[in-house]
């Protein structure tokens, strides 16, 4: 069977000592930043990207991927023990996880989260292995019109599924696309928006933009808040074993969370965050005794934690098969692939099969490591929480600055991060999400290229997007999505789903 041969090839790549080491390193780092509130996977990946220059691309991607799904494991620890989301995707885990900890069942909640995540991670790995080749095959049939339509759908879908004002989010996409135009136009060789600055001729680097937009503005926002919010865990973890009653409730929730998360992860705008919110809502809806929710229902931990890990992993599917990022972390991964001279898209699977399958299998290997890292070694991570933020954030800033400089060994990239740091802070104050801007920036040049080619083929006739069935369908879905959000009923529902985030 093809799948088996491919997975064996992946296994061969993933279990070389060096790749195992980098997977372990990524998972540990992911757990650490997941445990620590105030630093997320986007910022961490941006920070570490330059340090992966000298690595083999497969090792680099294995490590960076480990950071994302590792953070989903670590995030639940902080949520359960100190009622703070270590990671945004663990916001809902706080609700019931912390209540369980107060009742002395912290160990059981941690187990439910870790075992659920592990189960979800294993299923999601198989799901990627099975679905990715199919999707890549479809992608090979895409012409420029289809690609353009797909990008429109991807960008609009990403903002429809996120929270906040739709119009502002679309504005941020367009602004991102425009910023992506900075640099030399590949077709005519003309320099655009470079203001005569030689460093801008190659365009802005995504790593610098991401550091400023995510890491620096997050730091400023964290420091703005009061320090009383930082809490230290003083209680007892208790037995890690779930009792019979807890297991009976948790197991089906893990299964539902895994399925929901795997599916939602593939959608544009999907990933860990959306998956965990949706799973919590679902569990609450179908529970036999909904009043238990908020009082320490184990389903409210097992479901969302399984879902966010599944979603984190399956969001790699559109990246690996279509070259499209569905969230800011995946945009970062595109940045990583480009730095290592790998053009993301369906050809990665055929031109670089050991990287493709190695990455997929490494996810499962990483999940095994994470299970060990997070259950028996929980005490180490709890101690990490006692590091005061005042020691942490200068370190984050130093790593970012050195990282930015080493992209091109040029101080210019440090100025870029500073400018986007200010911009990122301003955007938050204006209620504008920075993620759509990042997605627009990454897709800008690709979108222009495909629009150009499509219209060249049709001799300038825009109807090409509507007469080709596949492209027409994609655009129709995009239009329906936007219209749905504008419907009053759904608009209200959408606000409700995200209201618990505040």
């Amino acid at each position: 069977m093809d799948l088996v041969t491919n997975l064996l090839l992946g296994l061969n790549t993933a279990v070389t000592p060096l790749n195992l080491l980098y997977a372990l390193f990524g998972c540990m780092l992911g757990t650490a930043i997941g445990v620590l509130p105030g630093i997320g996977p986007v910022a961490t990946i941006a920070m570490l990207l330059p340090a992966t220059f000298s690595l083999d691309p497969t090792a680099a991607l294995i490590m960076l991927a480990g950071i994302y799904y590792g953070a989903q494991y670590g995030g639940s620890t902080t949520a359960i023990l100190v009622n703070l989301p270590g990671e945004v995707a663990s916001v809902v885990t706080c609700i019931d996880g912390y209540k369980m900890a107060q009742k002395g069942r912290a160990g059981a909640a941690l187990s439910a989260a870790a075992i659920g995540s592990f189960f979800a991670g294993s299923v999601a790995t198989l799901f990627i292995a099975a679905a990715a080749p199919l999707l890549a095959e479809v992608a090979f049939k895409f012409g420029p019109a289809e690609y353009f339509a797909l990008m429109v759908l991807g960008l609009l879908g990403a903002v429809v599924l996120a929270n906040g004002s739709l119009l502002k989010a679309i504005g941020m996409i367009v602004l991102g696309l425009l910023i992506g135009m900075i640099g030399t136009d590949v077709n005519s060789g003309a320099e655009r928006f470079t203001f005569g600055i030689p460093e801008l001729a190659d365009g802005l680097n995504f790593v610098g933009l991401g550091m400023g937009l995510f890491a620096f503005s997050e730091t400023i926002l964290n420091l703005e808040k009061h320090h009383s919010e930082r809490r230290i865990f003083t209680g007892q973890v208790g037995s890690l074993l779930m009792n019979k009653h807890e297991f009976r409730d948790a197991a089906p929730a893990m299964l539902r969370g895994t399925l929901l998360g795997s599916l939602l992860g593939v959608l544009p705008g999907g990933g860990a965050l959306l998956a965990s919110f949706a799973s919590y809502t679902l569990e609450k809806k179908i529970a036999r005794n909904p009043s238990e929710f908020g009082e320490g229902a184990i389903q409210g931990v097992a479901g969302p934690e399984s879902a966010n890990n599944a979603g984190a992993q399956t969001s790699f599917i559109p990246l690996l098969t279509l070259g499209l990022p569905s969230n800011a972390v995946m945009a970062m991964m595109i940045g990583a692939m480009t730095l290592h001279n790998i053009q993301p898209g369906p050809q990665v699977m055929t031109s670089n099969p050991s990287l493709f399958w190695g990455l997929i299998v490494s996810m499962w290997v990483g999940n095994v490591m994470l299970l060990v890292l997070n259950l028996p070694m929980i005490g180490i991570w709890i101690r990490l929480l006692s590091i005061p933020y005042r020691f942490l954030y200068p370190a984050i800033l130093v790593f970012c600055c050195i990282g930015a400089y080493t992209i091109n060994t040029n101080v210019f990239d440090v100025w870029v991060t500073a400018i986007f740091g200010i911009a990122g802070y301003a955007f938050v104050k204006l209620g504008c999400e920075p993620a759509p801007l990042a997605l627009g920036f990454i897709l800008g040049p690709l979108m222009e290229e495909n629009l150009r080619r499509a219209l060249l083929l049709s001799q300038g006739d825009p109807s090409i997007f509507f007469t080709r069935p596949l492209s027409a369908t994609l655009l129709a879905i995009a239009a329906i999505l936007v219209l749905l959000v504008l419907l009053p009923g759904i608009k209200k529902k959408r606000e409700e789903v995200f209201v618990e985030e505040e």
Binding site: K168, L178, I220, V398, C401
Partner: protein, 154 residues
């Protein structure tokens, strides 16, 4: 005239400024036609779209949305110290090398924390300098100037 929705008003304004600015610059590029797009075609379309979105936001904010949201307080001190620290790093690196740059960044940015202490900051700067030197210079062999240029290049 009263601004009912501050956030939308200023984001609208921001989009209009960037949109019109980009439109002005892109108008100097070759436009071409839909079939043979010049360097200016896509940017002009985007700039028009952005300005349009900005105008709608602005008008909506003036008419008053029901869910009016204010800007919230802008903490100039914290933002200035963090970004100032980063700029300080860049400047210090250029003239004084990595170790000095790390110290400048740590000392400026640490002031942003309410629990600032000289001792803690000094320790932090020393530990980070050592860690970065070991990690980036010794281990990863990145081309970084550790010491001031006037010391190493005579």
């Amino acid at each position: 005239m009263k601004i009912k929705h501050q956030q939308d008003f200023f984001s609208g304004l921001l989009f209009i400024v960037f949109g019109l600015g980009a439109l002005y610059i892109a108008s100097h590029y070759k436009l071409g036609s839909a079939a043979k797009m010049g360097a200016g075609y896509f940017p002009v379309v985007l700039a028009l779209l952005l300005s349009g979105i900005g105008i709608v936001l602005l008008l909506r904010a003036l008419r008053g949305a029901p869910d009016a949201a204010n800007m919230g307080r802008i903490n100039w001190r914290v933002a200035g110290l963090i970004i100032g620290g980063v700029v300080g790093f860049g400047l210090a690196y250029r003239y004084l090398g990595l170790i000095a740059a790390i110290c400048v960044l740590v000392f400026i940015s640490s002031r942003a924390d309410a629990e600032f202490s000289w001792r803690g900051t000094f320790t932090n700067a020393a530990v980070l300098s050592l860690a970065c030197w070991l990690l980036f210079v010794v281990l990863l062999k990145l081309p970084l100037d550790v010491l001031p240029a006037f010391l190493t290049k005579g």
